[in-house]
Symmetry: C2
Subunit: 251 residues, 2 copies
C-alpha cells in the first residue's frame, strides 16, 4: 500500500526496455551519468507516472519510500504550519530529482502546479541502482550540494531582503534558468500563481502583486498576460536582486 493508492494518480505505463534511451530530459537530469549500456537497467526500475495539476504526490510526515524525477511540468516543494501558513522551499521543474531524504519520512510536501509527469523509483530499487552505478551516487551528492547552495541563497532572501529585492530576485532567477534552457532572454512564462510566488518569497499575494505593478509602472517590466513577464531592464533587475540598489527608490 503506497501513498498513491487512495488518489487518482495515473500510471501512464511501466517503463520498458528502451524507454530511457529515448527520454529527452535524460541529458539534463541525474540519469545522464548512466551510459548507453545501462539504460535498459535504468528503465527497468523507473516507472513513469502522470500527476494532474493540484495533486499532492508527496506529503510531509509520510513514509518516504519513493524518489521522483520530473520529466514534464512543475511541482512545488513546501512545508506548512498547523494553522495553514505555507512556505514553498522550491519549484521542481523538468529534470529535477525529488525525494532526497535520509529519514524514513518525507520532511516536505510536493504538489504538481501544472500537469506533470515523472519517473518514480522505489527506495530499494534506487539503492540497487546506486550499487550498480557508483557514478550516480556522486551525481546525487552533486545535486544535493547544488540544492544546499540554492537553499542558502533563499535563506538570505527570506531573512534579509526587502519585498522589492525578493520579487526582483525571483524574476532574475527565473530569467537565468530560462536563458540556460535556450529560451528568449527577456521573456518569462510563470507556471505558478501569485499566491505561490508569495508563499515562495515569504510575502503575501498583495505585496507580490503591488511590487510587480510598481515594476511595470516604472517601465522595468511588462505584463502582457497573467503568466507572462517581459523584462525590459535586465541590468536594473539584477542590481535590485543582489541588493546593490537598496536605496534606488529615492532616486
Amino acid at each position: 500500500m503506497n501513498e498513491f493508492a487512495r488518489r487518482p494518480v495515473v500510471v501512464v505505463r511501466n517503463a520498458v526496455v528502451n524507454q530511457c534511451e529515448h527520454c529527452n530530459v535524460r541529458h539534463r537530469s541525474v540519469c545522464n551519468v548512466i551510459e548507453a549500456d545501462g539504460l535498459d537497467r535504468l528503465a527497468s526500475v523507473a516507472e513513469l507516472r502522470r500527476v494532474e495539476k493540484g495533486q499532492v504526490f508527496i506529503e510531509e510526515g509520510q513514509s518516504a519510500r519513493d524518489f521522483f524525477n520530473i520529466t514534464l511540468g512543475t511541482a512545488k516543494i513546501y512545508k506548512m504550519l498547523p494553522d495553514g501558513r505555507q512556505q514553498i522551499t522550491g519549484f521542481a521543474g523538468v529534470g529535477h530529482f525529488l525525494g532526497l531524504a535520509v529519514s524514513d519520512t518525507y520532511a516536505f510536501s510536493a504538489e504538481a502546479i501544472e500537469d506533470t509527469e515523472m519517473c518514480r523509483f522505489t527506495r530499494p530499487k534506487l539503492r540497487g541502482l546506486l550499487e550498480e552505478f557508483p557514478l550516480l551516487e556522486k551525481r546525487l551528492l552533486e545535486t544535493a550540494c547544488n540544492e544546499l547552495v540554492a537553499a542558502q541563497e533563499q535563506m538570505l532572501l527570506l531573512g534579509r531582503k526587502t519585498a522589492r529585492e525578493r520579487v526582483a530576485t525571483f524574476l532574475a532567477m527565473r530569467l537565468n534558468e530560462a536563458v540556460a534552457c535556450g529560451d528568449p532572454p527577456n521573456r518569462l512564462t510563470l507556471p505558478m500563481t501569485r499566491l505561490e510566488i508569495a508563499d515562495y518569497l515569504g510575502l503575501t499575494i498583495e505585496t507580490v502583486s503591488r511590487t510587480l505593478s510598481r515594476f511595470k509602472q516604472d517601465g522595468k517590466i511588462a505584463l502582457p498576460s497573467r503568466d507572462e513577464v517581459e523584462i525590459l531592464d535586465p541590468h536594473w533587475l539584477s542590481s535590485v536582486a543582489t541588493g546593490e540598489d537598496h536605496h534606488a527608490a529615492f532616486i
Copy 2:
C-alpha cells in the same frame, strides 16, 4: 598560496599516524564510516588547524579548495549583501563537516564565533579518500540531505514564523541538540551573541532581546547569565516553536 597565508591562523600540528585513532569526535562526524584499519590513511590527509574567535576561515566567492571538520568550538556560516546585511544560514558545531560545494568557489563564508579547532582536507586529498572509502561518499550524501532538511525548516521559519516563534524555535532546537549530546535537559549555554542569533533568525538584535525578556517575564525561561538560558516550560516552548500556539499571547 591558500587563503590562510595572509591570516594568523595557527597550524597546531600536522596530523600524524594514530592521530585520528584517538580523536574523540570521530564517532559523531563523517569520519565514523572509516574503520580502524583506515585511520592511519585518514590521519595522513587531515591537517589539524586552530582558528581564533572572530577569524573568518572561509570567504564567499573564494576558491573552494578546502573542506573542514570541526573538532572543537563553533563557527557561523553566513552570506552577506553588498550593504552589509547578514544572514547566518547555520552554526557549525563539533562534528560538523564544512565546505560541501560543487562549484569551484565557496557560496558562503564561515567565521569562528569561539576559539575553534578543525581538521582540514584539501580537495584532491578528500577526493582520494572518497576513492578509497566509498562509504564516505554515502555518508557525505547523508550529511548533505540532513542539511537540506534543516535548510527547509529554516526557510519555513524565515518566511512564515513570527518573532516569538522564531526565538522559541531557536531555543527548542538548541535544547534538542544539547539533550542529544547528553547535556542537562533544561539548561542551555549559547556560544553566540544576540546579534548572531538575530542574524540567524532574520530579526534585529533588539527584537531578540525583547522577545527573550518577554519569555522571562512570562516565567517560561530564566536568564542566569549573558550566555545561559534555563528552559522552565519546555512543553510551552515547543508548542510555540511549531506554531501551534499562534494566538497564545491573548490567553
